[in-house]
Structure formats: C-alpha cells, structure tokens
C-alpha cells in the first residue's frame, strides 16, 4: 500500500467513525420522547413562521372596531384585541419575530462567544486572561439588564434587540468553548497535528472546533429558548418590536392593560412563548443526552 493509499484509508476510517458517532447520536435523539415532543412543537412554530401571512385567517394588522375585545369563538379562535385584530393571526405572525430574533441573537452570541472561547482556551495565558476577564465583566451584569442597557444606547427596535440579546449571551458561549478546549488542548491528536506542521488557525478550525461542537450545539438550543424569552421581555417593556408589528411579548404587554375585561389577549401569547421555549428546552436536553450519554440523568 502506498503512503497516499494509507492516508486515504485513514481519512475514510475517520469519516466513517465520525458518521457513526453522529448517526448514533441521531438514533438516541429519535428515542428521546421529550426531545421528539420538542421537535414536534418547533416544527409547528417554524411552519407558522415560514408560511405566516399565507395561513393567517385574518389580516394580522387589520382592525375591526365592531369586533373589539371579542372572546374566543369559532370565527376568532383566540378572540380579538382592543383594535378588533384577530389574536390567532397575530400569534402566527409573531412566531416569525420570535424565531428571527432567537436565530440572529444566538448566531451573534455563538460566533463571537465561541471564537473568543477558542482563542482563550487555545491561546497563551495572557490572551486567556484578557479575554476571560472581559467575559467576567460582561457576565457580572445580569443578562437582561445588559440587553436593556444596550438597547438604551442603540435605540429601541427589533434589530437592536437582536444585537443586544446576542451580546449579552457572548460570555456563556465563551466559557463553554474555553472549558471544552482546555479539556482537549493537550490530547495526542492536537499534538500530532502540531508536529505535522499545522498552523494554530488550522488546528483551531479543523481539529479543536469539531471536537468541542457537542456542548456548543446543546448551548445553542438552550440559548434559543432564553433569547426568545429575552425578546419577549424586551418587547413587553416596549424596547423590542414596535407597533403595529405583532410580537408575543408586545401582545402580552398590550393584553396587560385589558386583562380585567379580556384575559385571552395576554393568555394566548404567553402560552405561545411557554410552548416554544419548552420545545427548545426539550430539544436541548435531548441533544445533550444524545451527544453525551455519560451526562444523562
């Protein structure tokens, strides 16, 4: 066998082993009942977000003053609000806002946080100290308060809310990524890669990152849940989504003013947040069990 054939065979073995690892994890995930429930809920929420305007029974922003504060009925499943707008239609469209904010905010946190965590864990002690003390500083401000302060500086609105939530969660990803890197940085395959002449960036991206992905994937799922809650809170405070666009948190805030006469205005958006966040939490727990069965409790 030539040297190149040996190399090809090793690569094939590695790819095969990695495929089996992920396939096993996938199989374990499919057997996880709560994770399946989470996936079911999230599929519905994603469908609502994807097909939103096409499947709403009414125009979500269409006012109907003759039907203000109408209770749940066959024509309006979740009643109407103070402008006569259909709550169910607005909840469907609100799914888009929640998912969009969750995805963008968590992407910001994942990319920046994981990048900083990898650098801190793999870099020299000075780099590690500087980055992690910076993360300690950010972490010492409660996440929601930090998000509120950032929105205060950048201005109200959905885009700034996404950035603010993302920035507030950077320290969590940095800590997880750093801890994972510290666990493997002296493993033989890293030393071997270095001995073969691989540069730091190549080692980080090709050897370290794939091996610390499991905890990061789990954290992404759980952070999506937190991000949706944070967006709802910011919109509830009037700092996130601005009227007339529907967002679950905003709808809840609007419902609060009328909960004596029409409790459903706030009840259904809260239920939508609860189920979506629960879906992400179940999926996150399922992924953790599937990717690292040793951690199962």
């Amino acid at each position: 066998m030539t040297a190149s054939q040996v190399r090809t065979s090793r690569v094939a073995d590695e790819v095969g082993a990695s495929n089996t690892l992920w396939r096993d994890a996938g199989r374990r995930l499919l057997r996880h009942r709560l994770a399946m429930f989470g996936i079911g809920v999230l599929t519905i929420v994603c469908a609502m977000a994807a097909f939103g305007p096409a499947i709403t029974p009414y125009d979500p922003n269409g006012m109907d003053f003759a039907n203000r504060f109408a209770g749940p009925s066959l024509s309006h499943w979740m009643g109407t609000d103070d402008f006569g707008r259909d709550t169910f239609s607005r909840i469907i469209l609100g799914a888009r806002v929640s998912l969009q904010v969750g995805l963008v905010a968590v992407s910001v946190a994942t990319i920046l946080g994981t990048g900083l965590g990898l650098l801190a864990g793999y870099g020299r002690r000075f780099t590690d100290e500087v980055i992690m003390r910076g993360m300690d500083v950010l972490y010492s401000i409660p996440a929601l308060l930090l998000a509120i302060a950032i929105v205060a500086a950048l201005g109200k609105g959905i885009n700034n809310a996404m950035i603010a939530i993302g920035l507030a969660y950077i320290p969590i990803f940095a800590r997880i990524a750093r801890a994972a890197v510290l666990g493997i940085r002296n493993e033989e395959f890293i030393i071997a890669a270095r001995a073969l002449g691989a540069g730091d960036m190549r080692i980080l991206l090709w050897h370290v990152l794939p091996n610390v992905l499991s905890p990061i994937i789990v954290e992404i799922t759980l952070s999506l849940a937190f991000a949706i809650l944070a967006e709802a809170a910011l919109s509830f405070f009037g700092l996130g989504t601005q009227p007339p666009d529907p967002s679950w948190g905003r709808m809840l805030a609007e419902g609060r003013d009328f909960f004596r006469q029409s409790g459903w205005m706030g009840f259904f958006p809260g239920l939508a947040i609860l189920f979506t966040v629960m879906g992400f939490n179940f999926l996150g727990d399922g992924l953790r069990d599937a990717l690292d069965p040793k951690l199962r409790r």
Partner: protein, 315 residues
C-alpha cells in the same frame, strides 16, 4: 482559611468592577449620533443640547471623560438625573433595599421549593414524583415570568382578593403588609429559580447517593434520614452552592422583570424608567450598582466554599 486566596479573589472582584465601569461608561459613548441630542429628544433647542454637552463633558476626549466620571464615582457622585435634575446617588440608595429584599426572598422561596423536590426526586428516580418534578422544572424554565406574574395577579388579586396586585410597604412599617406585597413577586421570581435549582440538586444528589461513603453509611445501619441529610446532602452542597451562585445572575434578571410587573420600587424598575425616559446618568448608576451587588454576591459564594469544604485549598 487561605487568606492569600481571599485577597486574590478580592482583587479580581475589584478588577471586574473596574471593567464594569468601562462598560457602563460606554453606554453613552455608543449612542448613535450626538448623545446629548438623543437624551433631550428631537425637539430640544441647540442651546439646551450644547448646555447638556458641556455639563456632561461630552466635548472632552473620551479617556478624560472616563477618568473624570470615575473620579466622581469614587466620591459617591453618580451625576444628576436628566429627568428631575436630582442627584442620582440618593435615588439609587433608596432602591437598593427593596431590590435586595425581593432578590433574597425570591432566592429563599426558590431554595424552599428546590431542596425538598430535588432531594425526593433523586431518592426515587423514575417515580411519579420524579416525573412530576421534571415537568415542573421544565415549565419553570420555560415560563415567561412576566406572564406568570400577570396570571398570579388575575388569580390571587382580582379573583380571590387574597393579595395586593402591586405596590410595596417597608418591612419596618408593617411586616404583615410587607409580606402580603412581596408574596406574589417573590413567588414569581423564586419559581423560575426553583425549577432550575431542582434539576441541579437532583443531579448532585444522584452523584453522591451512589458514592461508596453513602453505601458505607447505609451498611452501618444508619437511618435513611441521617444518610441523606448528614452524609449525602452535606457532600452535595459544594456543587449545589456553585449552582446557586450561577443562578444569581438569572435571579437578578428575573427580579428586573418582576419589579416592573408588580410595580416594585427597586433598581430594575428604575433602570427601565431611565431607559424609557432616556435618562442615561440614572441608567448608568443603576446598572453599575446592580453589577457591583452581583459581583459581591458571587464573591461571597466563592468564599462560602471554605466553610462548606475545609479540604479546599487554593494555590
């Protein structure tokens, strides 16, 4: 006790607080455009904007602004509120008490729920009570606290008329009324914390319950209560305290929301009012005080390790 570690830990807390001052100072610096114009609103005249710029020193170099702001902070001067022109510091001091009370009582509520539920479900894994605890903790982690707060007000204040829907009475004035007012907000913030802590207490207890020393304690013929409380729980405490420490960040975030829902006169509500009124000096002061409180609590949790586990030595 390792005094060198305590000094080291105090110094690192000081560095964090100094870092927080930089972040808090930057709140005004990253405002897009002219911060003075943003603070006064679009209809303010040019003289007023220029006056505020001079008062806040916004024309000076950033480093100079920071150092002079930090110098004033060191003397307890947090600046003046833009909204009412009063000094920020006295407004903050008046809010620390109610916020601290709410955070403390919420934590106690959380612990009072999490300990028994976590321990019982660890003792009977897979049982009905364990499944119920899992469902409870999943709901607690996922529930928006402001929604839960509103639902509790509808049930306990509007329908049953048992508790007041909002407001605050100092404990020194009327302890009974104080309790009636704090019950719903503390339960709302505490419930969310309880659900997270329950999971970790269960997990920590499961770890120690299978340890050799616990089996030895059982083999010696000790009663189950003694095995659980004196041998297992004591050893699980070190992990549990770590989790409680981590929980405090979430708890403080939860308290911000709960304060707004229940009109609780704490720092969270003050911060939100400051944001809505674009009162940046007030917002900066509030964020700084909360971060300092949080850093101090974390420091206390770290030092608590020595008390809980005398074997711990820090190099």
């Amino acid at each position: 006790m390792n005094y060198q570690y305590i000094v080291q830990r105090l110094l690192s807390a000081l560095v964090v607080v100094l870092g927080v001052t930089v972040v808090v100072f930057m709140i005004v610096q990253i405002v897009p455009g002219d911060p003075a114009r943003v603070m006064l609103g679009p209809y303010a005249n040019d003289e007023a904007v220029q006056g505020l710029r001079d008062r806040l020193g916004l024309n000076r170099p950033v480093i100079e602004q920071y150092l002079s702001w930090l110098g004033a902070l060191a003397q307890g001067d947090f600046g003046q509120s833009l909204l009412n022109g009063q000094a920020v510091a006295p407004q903050l001091w008046g809010r620390i008490g109610p916020s601290f009370e709410l955070a403390l009582v919420s934590l106690l509520v959380g612990l009072a729920i999490a300990f028994p539920v976590g321990i019982i479900s660890a003792l009977k894994p897979g049982s009905g009570i364990d499944i119920a605890a899992t469902i409870f903790s999943q709901i607690g982690v996922s529930i928006p606290s402001f929604w839960m707060g509103i639902m509790l007000v509808i049930i306990f204040s509007l329908n049953l008329s048992l508790l007041p829907p909002s407001g605050y009475t100092p404990i020194t004035e009327d302890p009974g009324d104080w309790f009636a007012h704090i019950a719903l907000p503390a339960f709302t913030a505490g419930f969310v914390s309880a659900s997270i802590m329950t999971r970790f207490i269960r997990s920590a207890m499961l770890d120690v319950l299978s340890a050799n020393y616990v089996q030895t304690a059982r083999a010696k013929g000790l009663g189950e209560r003694s095995v659980v409380l004196r041998h297992a729980l004591r050893n699980a405490m070190i992990n549990i305290v770590t989790i409680i420490g981590l929980q405090i960040n979430a708890l403080f975030s939860g308290v911000v929301i709960v304060e707004v829902v229940f009109s609780w006169p704490g720092l969270g509500r003050l911060a939100l009012n400051a944001v809505l009124e674009r009162d940046y000096p007030l917002l900066q002061g509030t964020v700084l005080i909360v971060a300092v409180m949080f850093t101090m609590v974390n420091l206390l949790v770290d030092l608590l390790y020595f008390v809980l586990d005398p074997r711990i030595e820090y190099a």
